[in-house]
């Protein structure tokens, strides 16, 4: 009886697998043989258009990207899939001119390798270019300078290429070439340091830095901003899709070395006292301290037990008592290793990886959910790809285009009235901000976390906007004993709108 059941099960499995193979072959034929394993394939411009829309609607953030995009009104994101949920890993997507999507993780190749096992990722890895927003702005060279095309001939050339692409059958253009972070005549990128001497990077302790994003990059974790170190100057805003973004300014280095002194007084009287306090001979006469030494011996024994393992492994069997004191050195090394592990665990790559997987799930899940209205689709499969493609065709015929334009993105440029200073001097800082996109940006906050050597001059902060709207300033103490300046704009910042923040700080 059991043998009969086993045979029946085997036959059922073979039958089902054969059925799946047939379905797979049919799916490949329907997609022109280009979309096995759940790939979103498209062969017509309309399909491409809807596919681009789908990528934009899956919570993927694009900032300062030169390419106009066309959201389709039929697709709406779920309210829960806001930018804050996927903030640690946001990606700029740049759609290429070819007839399919190109996906390449420039932020972390490790992620691509891990996700390459997924058929969605591996198949589409040639057609979409995500640019991680956790990178400094200089790494997205096109994005940083694209809004300043009037002062950058290279960007103008890219714009010409864009127009040529529009004239062809497809609406997609070739990806713009990446530009160096700072072009002559263009605005400085976040990694650019404006200093009085080129040696500012080599001898940073002689300078006061303000601006940029020092240390851990500013990021979100659980809706809370982290990584805002002293000296950091960032702009936080939401684009028209409600996604949060953070952009850092360039750095300003003010040459202002400050000195301290450690003073020691030694003399005859002090020498006697010090020798008694520090000498081991006098103190060892006390019985209590003898007890303490006994405790020390016990501690050393426990340490040596750990060391003995290594010595036997290395072939040195005899551990002499004279070397017992070296046990503490071994422990110190272990301590260093633990610190290394701690620093690894606290670093952001782990966070980014987890969030990126989460976003990948979103990308896979959302097209299937919005088109088929069924729950399956978290794992890519042949049938899912076929169904998704068919749905996209339908959507492309009824899609309604919104106004074209680049997503809003703020570019910060920081200046200082003087690049050298002494204690007591007052420096005027200016932060120029500009929306280099076409859409509005909302909830704009420009945060300057001052270094401990700078103290905000009360009442000196002001916000000037070209459209006449205003903003507020709050001065908050930070953990390092200095202050954090938060400039908040009252109104959304329109596309290509500019403004200036001015404040004074006293050099301590």
């Amino acid at each position: 009886m059991s043998n009969l059941l086993k045979t029946l099960r085997l036959n059922c499995r073979l039958w089902l697998s054969g059925l799946c193979c047939c379905a797979a072959i049919a799916g490949c034929a329907a997609t022109g043989g280009n979309a096995p394993d759940g790939v979103f394939a498209a062969s017509t411009p309309e399909e491409l258009q809807t596919e681009q829309t789908s990528s934009l609607e899956t919570g993927v953030a694009t900032c300062a990207q030169g390419e106009p995009f066309k959201p389709v009104a039929a697709f709406h994101r779920e309210p829960s899939l806001t930018g804050q949920d996927v903030q640690p890993v946001q990606a700029n997507y740049d759609v290429s001119e070819s007839s399919a999507f190109r996906r390449r993780s420039s932020a972390n190749a490790e992620h691509s390798r891990v996700r390459g096992k997924n058929s969605f990722e591996s198949r589409t890895s040639d057609h979409i270019r995500p640019v991680s927003q956790s990178q400094p702005a200089d790494k997205t060279g096109v994005a940083t300078t694209a809004g300043f095309a009037t002062t950058n001939t290279v960007v103008q050339t890219a714009g010409t290429a864009r127009g040529t692409a529009r004239g062809t059958a497809t609406t997609f253009r070739a990806a713009e070439p990446r530009l160096p972070s700072a072009q002559p005549g263009g605005p400085p990128a976040a990694s650019v340091t404006v200093a009085a001497s080129p040696l500012a990077q080599a001898y940073p302790d002689e300078y006061i830095f303000d601006g940029g994003d020092r240390g851990h990059p500013v990021h979100y974790y659980g809706g809370t901003m982290g990584g805002l170190d002293t000296e950091d100057t960032v702009a936080e805003f939401k684009d028209h899709t409600g996604e949060n973004h953070v952009r850092a300014s360039n750095r300003v280095a003010v040459y202002a070395p400050r000195f301290g002194a450690v003073r020691t007084v030694t003399g005859v009287g002090i020498d006697v006292a010090v020798n008694k306090a520090a000498g081991a001979t006098d103190i060892s006469g006390l019985g209590k301290l003898h007890d303490q030494r006994g405790l020390d011996v016990h501690v050393r024994n426990s340490r040596v037990s750990g060391v003995g393992t290594r010595r036997s492994a290395s072939g040195v069997e005899t551990a002499q008592l004279a070397h017992l004191s070296k046990g503490s050195e071994v422990l110190a090394q272990n301590r260093k290793v633990e610190q290394g592990l701690e620093s690894k665990s606290s670093s952001s790559p782990g966070t980014l990886e987890r969030s990126q997987v989460y976003q990948l799930n979103l990308e896979i899940l959302e097209p299937a959910t919005s088109s088929i209205r069924t729950g399956f689709g978290q794992t890519a499969s042949l049938s899912q790809a076929t169904l998704t493609r068919a749905t996209f065709r339908v959507q492309s015929t009824v899609g309604v285009e919104e106004k074209r334009g680049r997503k809003g993105c703020i570019h910060l440029t920081k200046e200082a009235s003087s690049l050298t200073a002494k204690s007591g001097d007052v420096i005027t800082f200016r932060i120029h901000f500009r929306n280099i996109g076409d859409h509005n940006v909302h909830d704009v906050r420009i945060i300057d976390n001052l270094t401990p050597r700078l103290k905000y001059v009360s009442g000196s902060g002001q916000v000037d906007l070209a459209d006449g709207s205003g903003g507020g300033l709050s001065v908050l103490p930070n953990a390092e004993g200095s202050q954090t300046l938060e400039f908040t704009l009252d109104a959304p910042l329109k596309g290509a709108a500019t403004g200036t923040i001015t404040f004074q700080a006293k050099v301590l």
């Binding site: 009085a196 040459y255 450690v262 007084v265 005859v268």
Partner: protein
Amino acid sequence: MPRKTDSLIRVMKNAVLVFVVGLVPVGTATAQTGVDYHQPLSQNSPPGKAAAWMNHLRQYDPTWLQPLSVEVAGGASVQVFSRANHPVGAVTTPALVAVNVGHVYRLRIGNMPGFPGTEIYPSVELLDRLHPPQGRENEFPIPIIISAEDVRTALSGQLVTRVIYLEQPQIAQELDPLHREIPQSVLPSDNSLKEADRLGRPMAIIRIGGRRPSAGSSVSFFGTGGGVELRQAVTKPIAAEPAVVQTKRAVIQFTQ
């Protein structure tokens, strides 16, 4: 088979040696990150030793002269010696003196209003240099400040050692550590050079004591022979107030 075992042991020994050697730079990096480390030099090292080590490591440009701003409370006359029993020149404080890095210099300070008829002979050991914008070197000298309390302590037979350090901006204090009138003091048993290294970059060691040259003093008493150039003063004179009063004021400021 024995040959294979021997070669295996040899390889393992080499691996252990490589591992141990590899730990050395780890220790150096750990020292820079604030973890306790061994500093072989201290304020008690022979004058000139730390500077010689730094000069050997950094290979300072002998043509570069680092400006020093010599400031004495109430003003004074300063003479600079460099491995000779006759001074290079005499200036009045605040004085700007440019010297070679990696050398020891002897100063003779006299005509102090608060201490008539007395002279002190502090030594200045220059460990490191600044890198200011070109042409503006004189605006950013290393301050060599001798307070009235230092002079009083030296005249009482004690030795005052000041390790001047360049402050690390990220861990800077709100008060100016050099001018807040309460110097950061450590016990004589502590290593003030190590403490200065923890707070920033050690730049100079000033030793102010009661030692005076005599007819039998060797030229090494007057320094190690680095270059000296007297330049015009650019700093403002510091107030000539008694040290005790300064301390009281400092306490008030500090508690605020």
